[in-house]
């Protein structure tokens, strides 16, 4: 009984504590990194005042946010208004439980896995739970009872459900190679094949990466927020900590999407070329570090894309998905099927 409790409650609680602690800090620094990288892309310096090179900026920001006035518009639907940031954060966070961060270690006689919950429907559950974010966003926009948030929420919902289709088709192509839904199983399948799936499914990866940027409402697909036309999009009416929760949810969603991308296409925690013996010395680097390196690269990619591309128009955004990505992803599935059959 004690063993059961330790394995199923205590270890996950410790993992969750460590993960949330790191995440709370990391989100602040991702925001700082974004401001810095964008600044350098635009030949500016970015935040410089708080701490050396602005390194303490996240702490100042969070202090500021927690001290900000908490406004609820008079005409808002109070219950939904309060609930929606919680839905966004809870949906984004819970998916983290299914991401395998590494191989796992043994401490005090107990094996601590690199993933909080390795369930056999892993990736399906991730897509399902992260789909709930749409509810949080549309509830937030609707309950504010204001025009900008409502427009932003409608755009966000339509965009997220549309790109979810292309995203799922791209994931399916990867799953055909892996033959399992478990996130750990997907990485192990790449170890068995001796090749990261990016090399066998480059088209699916391209579609996934575009859809991933659109799913998280990031530039150049940030029509839901579009500062220059919708003020703040679906969270225009939110202030202080509640606004910060939307922000936290968005950055966590970015992290989760990058993690899925890495797990499905870039070998998760595996080192480069896992089947080449000559590179075995790379195993000296812990698996978790490889995973973090890859995820960080994708986070940088998000920022890079934001700094480089102008925002899409809404009809172009929809046309890109419905007229290009979806037919391409279906075609990719069929080609994968035929090639797998010929090679079998």
């Amino acid at each position: 009984m004690t063993d059961f409790l330790i394995i199923n409650v205590v270890i996950p609680l410790v993992q969750i504590g460590v993960l949330l602690g790191i995440l709370g800090l990391a989100t602040g620094y991702i925001v700082l990194a974004e401001r810095k990288v964008l600044a350098f892309i635009q030949s500016r310096l970015g935040p410089m005042r708080v701490g050396p090179h602005g390194l303490l900026q996240p702490i100042a920001d969070s202090l500021k946010l927690i001290l900000k006035e908490d406004l609820i518009p008079g005409s808002a639907d109070k219950l939904l208004y309060i609930a929606s940031p919680i839905v966004v954060v809870a949906a984004a966070f819970t998916t983290l439980a299914l991401i395998p961060f590494g191989e796992g270690i043994t401490l005090f006689g107990y094996h601590i896995p690199g993933v909080i919950a390795d369930v056999n429907v892993g990736i399906l559950l991730i897509l399902g739970i992260s789909g709930l974010t749409t509810y949080g966003i549309i509830l937030g926009g609707w309950s504010s009872n204001s025009k900008y948030p409502l427009l932003g929420a409608m755009r966000a919902a339509a965009q997220m459900v549309s790109y979810e289709i292309a995203l799922t088709f791209a994931v399916l192509a990867g799953l055909m190679m892996a033959g399992t839904l478990s996130m750990v199983g997907i990485v192990e399948a790449q170890l068995d094949m001796g090749v990261w799936f990016i090399f066998v499914q480059p088209v699916a990866w391209g579609i996934f990466t575009i859809a991933m940027v659109a799913e998280t409402n990031r530039a150049p697909f940030d029509m839901a927020e579009a500062e220059s036309e919708l003020v703040g999009g679906f969270f225009t009416e939110y202030s202080g900590m509640r606004w910060a929760l939307f922000f936290l949810g968005e950055y966590t969603a970015m992290l989760v999407m990058a993690a899925i991308n890495v797990t499905l296409f870039w070998g998760g925690w595996l080192r480069p070329f896992p089947n080449v013996e000559a590179l075995a010395f790379l195993d000296a680097v812990p698996s978790g570090i490889w995973f973090l390196l890859k995820v960080t690269t994708f986070l940088y990619l998000y920022i890079w894309i934001r700094g480089t591309f102008p925002r899409y128009r809404y009809d172009q955004l929809m046309a890109l998905n419905w007229k290009s990505l979806i037919p391409l992803s279906i075609l990719n599935l069929l080609v994968t099927g035929v090639v797998m059959l010929l090679l079998a």
Binding site: M154, L172, A344
Partner: protein, 118 residues
């Protein structure tokens, strides 16, 4: 089902994590006086003329319909994708038939202009 227990725990912790800073902030932040203008919906300083819950573009409705069709389709394809190696040729032919029906509807929707956003 034990494997799902950590996810439930995580959900609980995540909700607490979301509620805590908002509640905590209530005790430490100053409370400036409220006014009617402050509580009004934001419309760049112009007084709101009517309720925001008005009618919106029919386009969103069409997108929702199309999404439903495709999303149900993808759910059916998950078991097919992970068992594809075992299903082999039978699986491929069946999926081609399955997708052909979907693509027929998709081409119809495209030709009728359901995918145009103007």
């Amino acid at each position: 089902m034990v494997a799902y227990l950590p996810i439930a725990i995580f959900l609980g912790v995540a909700i607490a994590f979301a509620i805590l800073p908002v509640v905590l902030g209530r005790f430490i932040r100053p409370t400036p006086p409220q006014s009617e203008g402050k509580l009004a919906p934001y419309e760049c300083g112009i007084e709101p003329t009517r309720d925001a819950h008005a009618r919106f573009s029919i386009r969103f409705y069409i997108v929702a319909m199309l999404f439903l069709v495709f999303d149900v389709e993808t759910v059916f394809m998950f078991p097919w994708a992970i068992r594809y190696r075992q299903l082999a040729l039978f699986g491929l032919i069946e999926m081609v038939i399955f997708l052909a029906i979907l693509i027929f509807g998709y081409v119809y929707a495209w030709k009728r202009g359901a995918l145009e956003w103007v």
